[in-house]
């Protein structure tokens, strides 16, 4: 999405569901994909994605174009929610429960079952994920953002709120640890 277009949409999304809808459609696959690569569980990824977008919408009025792009801001919310999940060892989308009963355009449980089946087939990814998830959370953040999401160092720095130099050394330490684990 072009920066100017995104800027205009975010401004309008404060009042207009159409504008929010456009932003949402653009970012949903990216955010869900990122969370799924972090947690490797479709059901949990679905809940964290819901919470991420709810927090985004709750705070969209506060978002200012200063030093951090909208994309990085959204990934930052997702990263914080993932960290919450790992801290508690479980995840329940609490805020969304307060909103009235869900209605889906397809059978949600069937959709999850099918997606889980599809995920099980990605053996190489799952083996790698097993190792990555043993790393400290900040290492997981930088590894997934760099290698799976193909983010630039500057973007990772924005997302995790650290300097570019720190990201480089975190990446170095994370890959070193991972290398040792892989034997």
């Amino acid at each position: 999405m072009e920066l100017e277009r995104e800027r205009e949409l975010i401004e309008r999304a404060k009042r207009s569901p159409d504008a929010f809808s456009e932003i949402y459609e653009f970012y949903y696959p990216k955010i869900f994909g990122y969370i799924l690569k972090r947690v490797a569980n479709v059901d949990v990824a679905k809940d964290i994605t819901s919470e991420t977008f709810l927090k985004c919408l709750k705070n969209i009025e506060k978002f200012k174009w200063k030093g951090i792009s909208f994309s990085s801001w959204l990934f930052k919310i997702a990263s914080n929610e993932i960290a919450n999940f790992f801290r508690k060892g479980k995840y329940r989308s609490v805020s969304l429960e307060k909103i009235p009963e869900p209605v889906s355009s397809s059978n949600p449980s069937q959709e999850i079952i099918e997606a889980e089946e599809k995920l099980k087939m990605e053996k190489d990814f799952l083996i790698l994920h097993e190792k990555i998830k043993k790393l400290p959370n900040i290492y997981q953040d930088v590894v997934v953002l760099k290698f799976f999401e193909k983010k630039k160092i500057r973007e990772i720095a924005e997302i995790v709120g650290k300097k570019e130099g720190t990201i480089k050394s975190l990446l170095h330490r994370a890959t070193e640890k991972l290398r040792q684990m892989m034997g």
């Binding site: 929010f20 799924l36 209605v103 599809k118 590894v143």
Partner: protein, 249 residues
Amino acid sequence: MKKEDLIEKLEKTKLPEIELKGHREWLKIKLIDWKYYRKEAVFEFLPILKRVGFFSGSLVLILLIFFFSTNFLYPKDKIATAQKIALNDPQVKLLIEEGKEIKDVEVINGKAYLLISPKIETEKQTKEFLPMTAEVQEPKENLPTLTEVNLKEKRVSKIEEIKPENFPLNENEEEKAKEIAKIERERIIKIESLPSLELMLKKEKNQIKVEPKEKKALIIYREGNEKWLKKINLQTQEIEETEFLGIEE
């Protein structure tokens, strides 16, 4: 394992590409419903309550809730209800699975009308109906639909396909198109409407009308024994395209 090998592994491992279309659509509706149609209408007034004191503030709030529930919140709540009813209908579910989305909703006389259109995601994607004269007709699954929801009976009562024939050119538009194209009357074989796929709902005299955001005209005409076509944009008053159609037999 060498570090280079690890990095190569990290960069080249096949990653899961999973989509949850149902969740995506459900969450969008839920969030929009929450943000734009429910929360703000009532809770935006809480700071006023603090400022004017609890007792008089409560009175203000009650009056505001009464005002908004009758004038503002009520129809929007109906819109949310209509969307929920529609999304539980198997035919509507199918439309959403085909990649369409709810573009507009209007409520009138106890019925809600939902405009469900194909998503226009890329610049390259066509933004118009296929012309009526096209050899390949519009694939059925690509047509927008107007879904009628009976709010009292809580069910979808009608689903109608919207076709380009629904938006013919009126006399003025035809005249304007001829004028822009600068083609003599006797050379014109046919003029037809080419409405935009971007549609909107309009309330008019207790009725809901579907209207295209933009209308173009296609003029098919003779040039000697050749057949040509011109696409006229009636809004910008420009000729957008000229195409050779073949030799007349």
